[in-house]
Structures are given as C-alpha cells and as structure tokens.
C-alpha cells in the first residue's frame, strides 16, 4: 500500500509535466486543427533557457521560471508566424509535415548549438524530504504540483474571464464567424501559441529541476506522450488535457513500479490506440458529426 502511494506521488509529478505540455497541444489543435509536433521541442528549449538562466546568470527558481516562460512564449509566436501561418490553408498532410519539419529544425538546430551531450541541471531547490505517514514527499514533488496547479488556475482564468480568452473560445468554435464578429483571428492564434508555449516552458524548467538532466532530444517522447494525454482527454478540451496528463503519468509510473519499466512507452501507445479505436473524441470530448 505504501509502495502504491509512493508511486502515486511520483506519478502525479510526472503527470503534471505531461498535463502542462498537453494543454499547449490541445489549445493549438482546438484553434487551428494542427498537431504541433514542435511543441515537445519548445518544452526542451524551455528547459535549456532555465538551465542557462540558473547556471550562467545565477538566477533562482522562480526568476528562471519566468525568464523561460517569456522566452518560450516568444519562440512559440515566432514559430507560428514563420512556419504555420503560410500553410494554414493547405492540406492536412502538408500541415503535419510542416510541423514535423519545424520539430526537426528545433531539435537539431539546438543540438548544433549546445552539442548532443546530456547536461546536469544545477540544484536550484535544495532537496528536502517530508514524511507523510509512510510516504516520503520530496519538496520538488510539492513544487511541481503547486506550480502546475497555479498555472492551470491562471489559464482557466484567462480562458473564461478575459476578453482574449473569449476570443480564443470563439475562434476555436468557428474561426470565420469569429472574424465576422470583429475578432482578429490572427492575433488570437498568436496568443494561443504564446500561452501554450509558455506552459511548455514551465514544464521544461520543472523537468530540469526534478530529473536534473536535459538533452536536445528530450522533447521527442514527452511531446508524443503529451499528445496522447490530450487525445485521452479529448483533443481541444482543456480540463480533458489535464486529466489525460495525470492519468498517463500515474499509469506510467505504476507500470514501471510493477517491474515492466521497459514497456512503459508501449503501454502509453497502446492506451492511445485503444482510445482512438473506442472513443476517438476522448473521455471529455463532445461528439461532433462530420459534415460532408
């Protein structure tokens, strides 16, 4: 039982990371129907910005987090303006391939500059363990969960209470109608990318702090996993992405704890395929009829 609770704690930490990345996927997909393959790489760059901020500029945890958020938000907007805007009207396959090319560009461009080796993230948060009954709680677990929850609350506030949030919801529902109502869809899409990338940047710094190691290809797997999380929750549905992230994180740590750690990626993909076959709109998705 203690073992299960302990793994649950680890699973929630990992799930927070997935949830943060999945939010970006789901918002972007909701608004322009594009699987932004480069999202996982924005998370990687977020981790590197955090690394640079803490190692070379000696910033603390919170300032590094904020620097990373700003940088990734800018990067997200640049990627959107340079790469995705020209292909917004083209076919689905063209859009997906463009996304893959942006992802390759960021991964290997980054590798060219920072070299392929793994880097050790500095210890910005001194490790402290709390005991909760028989479960050991590291303060990093607590930080991850608190930061994630705060981010999600801010996001919910932006989406449901502000004018730009309303514009985002309108554009994702029907971008043409939104445009007719005087919403600048271009700006709204940029804001969506900025917000999503910002959350990915947060996830990058958190992962650096939690696992202490970063490398230029670290975004590949978590990127795909976060997409799986977004699919589980129903793509385009924000609470769904959070739920999917936590579900996937917990499942993965449980599979590892049961001794099948080599199969944990396979389990994630199996969940994805089952989900797509049984309920392609996700657990929280609305059923939308396809129009001919």
């Amino acid at each position: 039982m203690e073992q299960v609770l302990q793994q649950l704690v680890n699973g929630i930490s990992l799930g927070s990371i997935y949830a943060l990345i999945a939010l970006g996927y789901t918002m972007v997909y909701g608004i322009i129907n594009l699987i932004n393959f480069a999202h996982g790489d924005i998370y990687m760059i977020g981790a590197y910005v955090g690394f640079a901020a803490t190692t070379f500029f000696g910033l603390g945890f919170i300032p590094a987090l904020i620097v990373s958020m700003i940088m990734t938000a800018v990067l997200g907007v640049v990627v959107e303006k340079v790469a995705y805007k020209p292909i917004r009207k083209s076919t689905r396959i063209a859009a997906l391939i463009t996304a893959i090319s942006v992802s390759l560009f960021l991964e290997y461009g980054m590798m060219y500059f920072v070299k392929a080796e793994t880097r050790t993230f500095p210890e910005v948060l001194p490790s402290k363990n709390f005991r909760l009954g028989n479960v050991i709680l590291n303060n990093k677990d607590v930080y991850i969960v608190i930061v994630t929850v705060v981010m999600m609350l801010i996001l919910q506030y932006i989406i449901h209470k502000t004018k730009i949030g309303m514009a985002m919801r309108a554009a994702s529902m029907d971008s043409e109608a939104a445009q007719l109502m005087g919403i600048s869809v271009d700006n709204t899409i940029s804001v969506t990318f900025a917000l999503g990338s910002c959350l990915a940047g947060v996830a990058g710094v958190l992962v650096g702090v939690y696992y202490n190691s970063i490398d230029p290809l670290m975004g590949m797997m978590p990127g795909i996993k976060a997409f799986i999380a977004a699919v589980i929750g129903g793509i385009g549905v924000i609470p769904g992405a959070m739920f999917g992230g936590y579900l996937l994180g917990i499942t993965e740590t449980m599979v590892s704890a049961a001794g099948y750690s080599l199969y944990k990626d396979a389990v994630a993909f199996a969940i994805l395929i089952l989900m797509l076959l049984i309920k392609p709109k996700g657990l929280f998705g609305k059923n939308v009829r396809e129009k001919v």
């Binding site: 129907n33 699987i35 790469a83 020209p86 292909i87 083209s90 076919t91 689905r92 396959i93 063209a94 997906l96 391939i97 463009t98 893959i100 090319s101 942006v102 992802s103 390759l104 560009f105 991964e107 290997y108 461009g109 590798m111 060219y112 392929a116 590949m220 795909i224 997409f227 799986i228 699919v231 080599l262 199969y263 990626d265 396979a266 993909f269 199996a270 994805l272 395929i273 797509l276 076959l277 392609p280 001919v292």
Partner: protein, 310 residues
C-alpha cells in the same frame, strides 16, 4: 493489351542493360565498395519510398510507422539466415510475408481512423513494434542482432527495386489502383460509387508493408548487424521525407527523391546535426512553395520507347 509488345521488350532491354553495365563496373572495380554501399542504401530507400508512396501518396493514408515493417522484415530475415541457415530467397520471401501480416494486423484497426489520428496511431504501432524488439532476448534485445550473413549484393538490390516499381506501377494502373486514388481524392464519394474503401486501404497498406519487409531483409543482410533503434520514428520520417520531397503520387518522384536525399545526406555526413537542419529546411520549403513535391504527379512514361510504333 498484350503484355509483350514493343514497349515492354524495350523496357526489359533497358533494365537489363543498366544491370549489366553496373555489374561489370563492380566486377572491374570501377565502382568500389564505398560507392556500392551507397548504391545499396539508395536502392533500399527507393523500395521503402515507393511502398510508402502507394499508401500516403496514392491512397492518401498518412502513415508514420513505415519503418516498423522494415524492422519486421529485417529481423525475420536475420533469424532465417543466421539462426536457420536458409538461403536468401527464402529469407526475403518470409520477410515480405511477415511484414504483410504485420500490415494486416496494424491496418485493420487503424485504417478506420483519418488524417492526423491515423498518423499518430501508426506512429504508436511503429513504436510498439520497436519496443517489443528491444525486449525480446532471442533477437538480441537492445544490443542488437549480430553476425547476420552478408547476402545482399547489387543483383538482389537492383532486381528488388525493379520489382517494387513494376508491381506498384501496375497496381496503380489497375482497377484496385484507381480505387485507391479515388479514396485519396474523396473517401465518401468513393464509397458512394461502390468502392470498398476499407478493402483497398488495407490492400495498399499491405503492399507497402510487403516491400518494406523486402527492404528490411536487404538491409539486414548487407550490414551484418541490426538494432531496434535503427527502425524508430526517425526512420519513418526519413522515408516520408523522400516521398514528400519527390512528390506524393509520383513513383518517379520517389526514385528521384531517394537518390537526391541520399546524396545530400552523404555530403553532409561530417556534420550530422546540420544535415537534419537542412533536411528540415528543405521539407519546409517544399511544403510552402511546392506542396505537390519536386515532380508533382509526373511519372515515368517511357514515351521515347514507343515513339515509332507503326
């Protein structure tokens, strides 16, 4: 239309002449082993790209797991030749059949999905096959499969390339091929016209897998050594890049794409990171400025061979 006419005879002569010239150059040592290695690699990429083009270009089903079928073929061939000592022809046949079987197993559930979801599901299946290979000790697991006898040579590669092009080209010009093209244009309309879309989608997928299996066998029996990570998601993207670069729906495009991209990566070998960056830029430029690919829908026509038909 008769199968043996002036055009096909001329074509066969040209094909055999190319074979004989290169074979002679290899025998004379004009083509050294380094060049031969690259020719083999280009050949393997052509087979993969032509197969994927049938699935993605002609049938419009976006697959990101093509390398998995290559992995199945490679491992089956490695087992058959290294563990059971069977001749290469048996190994290639079994590889192709095993990969087709994998194609059926993966195709039946996933091909109900469309567009992005299909891409992600095939990516998932590809990764599952890779992870399974990583965890089976019989085939070497993560450390790879060693001491595979070298059986692939110019003859095998060349005739497999020719076979894949001929079979897929003829398939496209057949009733089944036209059904596949109609699916890529409008699946609903195709279905309304009485095309059994599921059947033809799976058929295209299986033919693609069949040739990917062959290319896997050629790969395994040329390089002595295979490991699961050679057949990951990046390999699938590599193949996709060839197809997109050459032109989706153009077999000639896939051949040109395989040759050009193999040469580009050869020249950039010393700077592997920049190689991928340049790849990415090429891919992006093509998607923005020429989404139909280098050759678009242009294809081999061989008009020059039958110009003087009486």
């Amino acid at each position: 239309m008769k199968v043996i006419n002036r055009k096909t005879i001329m074509l066969a002569v040209v094909i055999l002449a190319i074979y004989a010239v290169v074979e002679m150059m290899i025998g004379q040592g004009i083509i050294d082993s380094y060049v031969e290695l690259n020719i083999v690699l280009i050949g393997i990429n052509i087979i993969l790209a032509v197969g994927l083009n049938l699935v993605t270009g002609f049938t419009g089903q976006f697959s990101l797991g093509h390398a998995a079928f290559m992995a199945v073929g490679a491992y089956v061939s490695a087992i058959v030749t290294a563990k059971f000592g069977q001749p290469f022809i048996v190994a290639i046949t079994l590889s192709a059949l095993a990969a087709s079987l994998a194609g059926v197993i993966i195709g039946i559930p996933t091909l109900r999905l469309k567009g992005d979801y299909l891409a992600i599901a095939t990516l998932g299946f590809g990764e599952i096959i890779r992870i399974m290979a990583l965890n089976i000790d019989y085939i070497g697991g993560a450390s790879g499969f060693n001491d595979i006898p070298k059986m692939t040579n110019w003859t095998w590669v060349y005739f497999m390339v020719v076979a894949s092009i001929v079979v897929i080209k003829n398939f496209i010009n057949s009733r089944g091929g036209r059904a596949c093209i109609s699916i890529s244009q409008d699946e609903t309309a195709a279905e309304a016209m009485g095309v059994n879309t599921t059947k033809y989608k799976i058929l295209a997928f299986v033919i693609g897998a069949f040739f990917a299996g062959i290319s896997g066998a050629l790969y395994a029996n040329y390089f002595y050594f295979i490991k699961p990570d050679s057949f990951g998601y990046m390999k699938s993207i590599d193949i996709l890049v060839i197809v997109v670069f050459g032109g989706m729906g153009s077999i000639a495009g896939s051949v040109v794409g395989a040759v050009v991209l193999s040469l580009i990566s050869l020249f950039l070998q010393s700077i592997p990171e920049l190689r991928m960056v340049i790849y990415a830029v090429i891919l992006f430029m093509i998607m923005v400025y020429r989404p139909q690919g280098l050759l678009g829908k242009e294809d081999f026509r061989f008009k020059f061979l039958k110009k003087r038909v009486v």
